[in-house]
Amino acid sequence: MRELLPWLKLLDEQRRRLLLGALLMAFTLLSAVGLLGLSGWFITATGLTALAWAAGQRVMFDVYVPGGGIRFFALSRTLSRYAERVVNHDTVLRLLATLRSRHFAGLARLDAATLGRLRAAQWLNRLTADIDTLDSLYLRLLAPPVVALAGVLVVCALVGIFHLPLAAALAAALLVLLAGLTWGMGRWCQRLSAGQVGQLDELRLRSIEQLQGLAELRAAGTLGGHQQRLLASSEQMLDEQLTLQRRVALAQALTGLLLMASVLAALWMALQWQQAGLLSGPVAVMLALALLALGEGLTVLPAAFARFGATLAAARRLNEQVALGSRLAEPARPRDVPDRLDIHWQQVSVRHAGIAGLDLQLEAGTRLALIGRSGCGKSTLAALLARQLDPDAGEVRVAGVTLTELALADWHARIAYLTQQAALLHDSVAANLLLGKADASDAELWQVLEAVGLADLVESLPRGLDHWVGESGRQLSGGEGRRLALARVLLKGAPLVILDEPFSGLDQATRERVRQGIEPYLRGRTVLLLGHAPLLLPAADRVVYWRQLQ
């Protein structure tokens, strides 16, 4: 239960809207109780008055006051229900929008290594489904039981005016029922409903994987088996859902039955007192019908509390994520980035990459090519320089200033870094390029596309710069996507450029063309180049082989 605390605090921010929503909800229920109870009283009273008149008694009966009351409750029930729904759903969606962007902002603070430990597919779920699940916190789990409780107390108080012991017995019975529908239902369904989010998550992950591997699986003829497995997990999820739904149906049926039993008990007692002359007939009917009208507030509870476990699980997962922090410390008083970018990896060690006490320098305005086989650790040096991670020992210095003394954002603004896995956004060609330089003109975009030899291709696309690039750039070939990512980096015009295997996936002719095309973008900058061979990289002032460094 403690996992819900941070979310309850968040609800507190919208306190006034939520209070208004709850009041409207309560007013709706009480209107329903009033409508049925008063109508019952009215009909019984008129019936008995007519009997008295027939018996020749002179009894006064005012039809206008109860009539007005009935009309009032009829209208107030409709209006308050509509207002309650609009107000509450709007509040909840507002909360959700805030939650989503705050959560994304929280994720964006994390460093590359921490991000890497989580998986993209899981995050999608966290950002949408988990937060969506939490909407039930107020609308389903908090307000309805409170309102139902208020309804029970009001009706029992009404009964209490006429007969205190009966009111107490009714209150006790209804409170037990209420506890069963909320706490009991939540406990009974906790395991099943908590598992559902995970099952959906798994189903989503596996279906994304199947889509990504469609080519390989279909070619191999094993797609059928994988589809069967996916369908089997879907079937299992549906079966557990059914079990859960059956429990809800059972609880709802029992609620109706128990409520009817308490109505009958109350009516039975009231009629006995009426015959003993302790109570008037119309009041006896009114009390019974008011109780009957409470059903509206009670029957919504089982379905809501069956999902209690799911809400708890979602809150727990989101809390875990909130607790994550970046492993990269930001300096309290950041220093200015030096103008001359003389880089020095000073005795750096990164344990997981097998780098120990490595020393390397890159002079400002020169180009250094670092050659080594894949997986040797040269990309780690680039990541250190871009401060995607900090070394376990040693430090990276820029003109004598340690990187950790600079604000991350300041430093990133000085770097243009083409990573090995640089991927394209699921967006237009232009939007992908504009990541590098948000205010670039179309002319600049075409110029950089020309430099990487993509101008002709983009021109031939039906929508040109606005052409949509598929997920991970799949509608472009591997080499084309790589060149677009390169163009994005060059467009940034940063003084320090890091290119990690910039020409991978390019044939020799294209490579030569791009090598010449990008030359103007590298001139006069400090450049770190990483690759398998000097031939596969732009021309460098100095070539260092990884073997020599170790």
Partner: protein, 537 residues
């Protein structure tokens, strides 16, 4: 409609009947005690009958709910199966324009959205017709004028609801689209957080996520407001009808109404009518509550059925020429993509069994498209393809793309993707062949060591070699390789080339698109593609 749904409707009718009996007995109990002044002890059988009616009602209600839910669950499973089939028929090339996230969102969330329609809306649609008629008949028998009030107010309701519903449907379709886009937007931004950080674009991305969520709220509220309005109309009519009936009965009992059947009214019939009036509207109110289920389901169904329309008619499978069992052959193969023009022109090619062929050519010359045709992912516009006497897609083919495809799971899970039967020995041997034997030896749990998503924890070269090991494990006679060594350094490449040579020596036919001289050297023959035409190399 499914048999389960009929059963659910039948249970719902029984529930209505039980309710009718229950309310009648309740009114009679009150009438007997108050008007007839019968001693309570005499009324005990009535009380027991009332309890019995309430019990029958509870059982029928439970049966109705669980039967309808069963139907909903069956439908969802069937649609999931159909969608998987659709993906398979579309193939990787035609699905490439959609993000996997939004397709997966269709398969998971939007199919779930169908549940409300089948489990709640559809049975309720019948019950909203049958049960009120039942109650109306009872009221008619008691007092035809009161029945007339109910009858007049009832048809107005569907009219108003239809008007409102038409708008709700349009809006809800937009809602489904927006939800899918939002899912894609999030996954994409989250996946590229590192890139966004490097480009200093995080604040802009946070803004765009906030805007997307806000847009979602606005679209959602529009749908909801309409849905709430339609149920408010209903509640209004229901409440007013109850009020009118109560007033009519009251005045009738007092004898203020001289016209019609009201002189016959008793406390029993008056109370009975009053108790039935809200129940008369209840099925319609439930229907309205489930109306957004219908809207959500129809919105989802529209998106899903668009998938159905896109399914291309299967072209006639041409019988390959006889004696073709030993060759892979292409005759006059042409292919074009909408928006990209022709990518293959009249390609003519024969590859003998066991041959190793290198397909060379500049980026975008059509190499990948040719491989896709051979794998059967796309149907050619003209010409014929025969793989050892079979049409493409009939035989298993081993495929290795430009990006390694790895799933979240262990090394063994990844290896078994295309070779489900492979045992540990075979897997170890395959890993040895691609130069990963050493790395495997370092893993803490051997083949059961988990792998991160997208091969995180492995270098690009290692990930590609792991995928290549899968090719080694498969028994497919034809191996299609799309630039398999593009991301490898010379040392790793040499290992892979050696493994491929061993693969070729085992009698398999290799067709590979490549730029790498080392791979070309491995090939017995090279052909070059230039702007979609085959030229001599």
């Amino acid at each position: 409609m499914q048999p389960w749904l009929y059963a659910a409707v039948a249970a719902g009718v029984v529930e209505g009947l039980a309710l009718l009996v229950q309310m009648g007995l309740l009114a009679w109990l009150i009438h007997s005690a108050l008007v007839l002044a019968r001693p309570m002890a005499e009324l005990l059988p009535l009380l027991l009958a009332l309890l019995a009616a309430a019990g029958v009602r509870a059982v029928a209600q439970y049966a109705r709910d669980s039967l309808a839910q069963l139907a909903g669950s069956r439908v969802r499973q069937r649609v999931r199966r159909q969608l998987l089939g659709y993906w398979e028929r579309q193939g990787p090339v035609r699905l490439a324009g959609h993000s996997s996230a939004s397709l997966a969102n269709q398969w998971v969330e939007q199919v779930e959205a169908l549940d409300g329609y089948f489990a709640r809306y559809l049975p309720q649609q019948w019950l909203a017709l049958l049960v009120p008629v039942l109650f109306l008949l009872a009221v008619f028998w008691l007092d035809w004028l009161a029945a007339l009030f109910l009858l007049i107010s009832a048809p107005l309701i569907p009219l108003f609801m239809a008007l409102i519903g038409m708008r709700a449907e349009r809006i809800s379709q937009q809602h489904v689209l927006e939800a899918g886009r939002l899912a894609g937007h999030f996954l994409d931004r989250v996946r590229h957080l590192t890139t966004l950080q490097l480009f200093g674009q995080v604040p802009a991305a946070i803004d765009s996520v906030a805007q997307a969520a806000e847009r979602y709220r606005v679209v959602n509220m529009r749908t909801l407001r309409i849905a709430f309005l339609s149920s408010a109309v209903l509640e209004f009519f229901a409440s007013v009808a109850i009020a009118v009936v109560a007033m009519y009965i009251g005045f009738g009992l007092l004898g203020y109404i001289s016209y019609g059947p009201s002189a016959e009214l008793t406390l029993f019939s008056g109370l009975f009518i009053l108790l039935l009036a809200p129940e008369f509207f209840q099925p319609l109110r439930s229907l309205a509550q489930h109306y957004h289920d219908r809207a959500a389901a129809l919105g989802a169904a529209a998106v899903l059925s668009r998938c159905g329309e896109l399914v291309p008619a299967a072209g006639p499978v041409a019988t390959p020429p006889s004696g073709a069992a030993e060759v892979v052959s292409l005759h006059g193969v042409s292919l074009g993509y909408p928006g990209r023009g022709r990518v293959l022109h009249e390609v003519q090619l024969q590859v003998r069994r066991g041959e190793v062929l290198a397909l060379i050519g500049a980026s975008g010359s059509g190499k990948s498209s040719l491989l896709h045709c051979l794998a059967g992912f796309i149907d050619v516009d003209a010409g014929q393809i025969s793989l050892f006497g079979q049409p493409p897609g009939a035989l298993p083919v081993a495929w290795l793309g430009q990006r390694p495809f790895l799933i979240q799971g262990s090394w063994a899970d990844n290896l078994r993707l295309t070779a489900p039967q492979a045992d540990a020995t075979a897997m170890r041997a395959a890993l040895q062949q691609v130069g990963l034997g050493e790395l495997l030896a370092q893993q803490s749990q051997g083949l059961d060591t988990p792998l991160g998503e997208g091969g995180r924890g492995l270098s690009g070269g290692q990930a590609q070699r792991l995928a290549l090991a899968r090719v080694w494990l498969s028994e497919a006679p034809l191996v299609l390789l799309d630039e398999p060594t593009a991301s490898l350094d010379p040392d790793s490449e040499a290992e892979v080339v050696a493994a491929l040579a061993r693969l070729a020596a085992s009698g398999r036919t290799l067709i590979m698109a490549t730029h790498q001289p080392a791979l070309m050297a491995l090939a017995g023959r090279r052909v070059a593609l230039h702007n979609g035409r085959l030229v001599d190399a």
